[in-house]
């Protein structure tokens, strides 16, 4: 990729080839829950987050919206929700929720995001990993190895840590951190 110009090295970005176009066409993006960018944007379900049912109901009524209309507006914005799911949120039967869904409901009913959110009652292994000092250190090393912002590296490692949860397993926190350590070491060795 290097070239010389007037005795100095200058950059040359690669040309686009037919092979590149077909690689792009055939590429399968990561699943939403494994996508670091989706995680940064709050599109991935956070096991530690729930709707505060009574707060949602109060805000919806204050906004003058029937429940089916709220659901319809969410569907128009690309959310796959049903009337019964939304009823469950208001009746205190909310399962884990993506932060961006809470943001969407907050937008529609004109409330603040934080006023509609509640913490999950259970211990969440991914949250425990995420808040540990070891995890923060691993993220710093990964950000350096990948030359990406800290938040991007954090989302990448959170996705890696969350995979056993989404697949139905409950990761041991120490074992998960050890797996992340191996991952970061691999990233660092690639950069050397």
């Amino acid at each position: 990729m290097s070239d010389t110009f007037d005795g100095h090295q200058r950059e040359r970005l690669p040309a686009i080839a037919l092979e590149d176009l077909f690689a792009g066409a055939a590429y399968q993006p990561p699943r939403l829950e494994d996508d670091p960018a989706a995680r940064i944007l709050g599109l991935v379900v956070d096991p530690a987050l729930r709707f505060d049912g009574s707060a949602v109901k109060r805000a919806r009524i204050r906004a003058g919206l029937k429940l089916p209309l709220l659901v319809q507006k969410l569907i128009q914005r690309g959310w796959e929700v049903t009337n019964s799911e939304a009823l469950g949120w208001e009746n205190g039967r909310s399962g884990a929720i993506a932060p961006a869904l809470i943001a969407a409901v907050a937008d529609i009913v004109g409330a603040s995001q934080s006023s509609l959110a509640a913490s999950a009652p259970t211990n969440d292994p991914v949250s425990a990993i995420r808040t540990s000092e070891s995890f923060r250190q691993l993220v710093t090393r990964a950000a350096e190895a990948l030359s990406v912002p800290w938040d991007v590296a954090a989302a990448k490692l959170e996705s890696a840590a969350a995979i056993p949860v989404h697949r139905g397993g409950t990761p041991d926190i120490d074992a998960a951190l050890q797996s992340l350590e191996v991952l970061v070491e691999e990233l660092e060795s690639r950069r050397r």
Binding site: A15, A23, W79, A100
Partner: protein, 176 residues
């Protein structure tokens, strides 16, 4: 009233396939297609840190920012390689059929669509050979064995197929 971050999140969910395709296509020439997730994430973070006022076309904005981040990433990688901090990856093929110089403006997304349509419209045996070699990235000798023909014949047909697809791309005006 939709808040900026909520609109960004919903637009990203709708268009993320396209963003990844563009990133992979643009990074592959430098052997960096494996960095597509990092580049797309960096683009998203940039849009969160520096909100754009009165967005009328989220798709166009997302594509624009991803393309800029791809260029930043390529330049950063070039700089690291120049300084000897990072070796050149060995998976960059030399038999690339270039359709646009780096300096050319190219609508990568449209080029991908035109190339795919052109491949699907190729006569046989060109279509099968092009699909195996370009889409599935199989080696010419593997395709030759599977089809019961010689590798030079596969090479010849593939070259003809690439020329036909490249002509369609040129006719479509996606490069300027």
């Amino acid at each position: 009233m939709t808040s900026y971050n909520a609109a960004l999140a919903e637009a990203f969910r709708e268009h993320r396939d396209v963003l990844y395709r563009i990133a992979v296509a643009r990074l592959r020439g430098a052997g960096l297609q494996g960095d597509a997730q990092d580049v797309v994430s960096t683009a998203v973070l940039s849009l969160m840190d520096h909100p754009v006022a009165a967005v009328t076309n989220w798709r166009a904005l997302l594509i624009d920012v991803v393309e800029k981040k791809v260029v930043d990433h390529l330049r950063s990688a070039w700089s690291r390689r120049r300084d000897g901090r990072e070796p050149k990856p060995d998976d960059v093929k030399d038999d690339r059929f270039d359709i646009a110089d780096a300096e050319d403006e190219i609508d990568v997304l449209k080029a991908i669509q035109v190339a795919t349509d052109a491949l699907n419209a190729l006569p046989e045996p060109h279509q099968t050979i092009a699909r195996e070699c370009l889409w599935h990235e199989r080696k010419q000798n593997e395709v030759a064995t599977a089809l019961g023909i010689s590798q030079p014949r596969v090479s010849q047909v593939l070259k003809e197929a690439k020329n036909m697809i490249a002509s369609k791309i040129e006719e479509s005006g996606v490069t300027r």
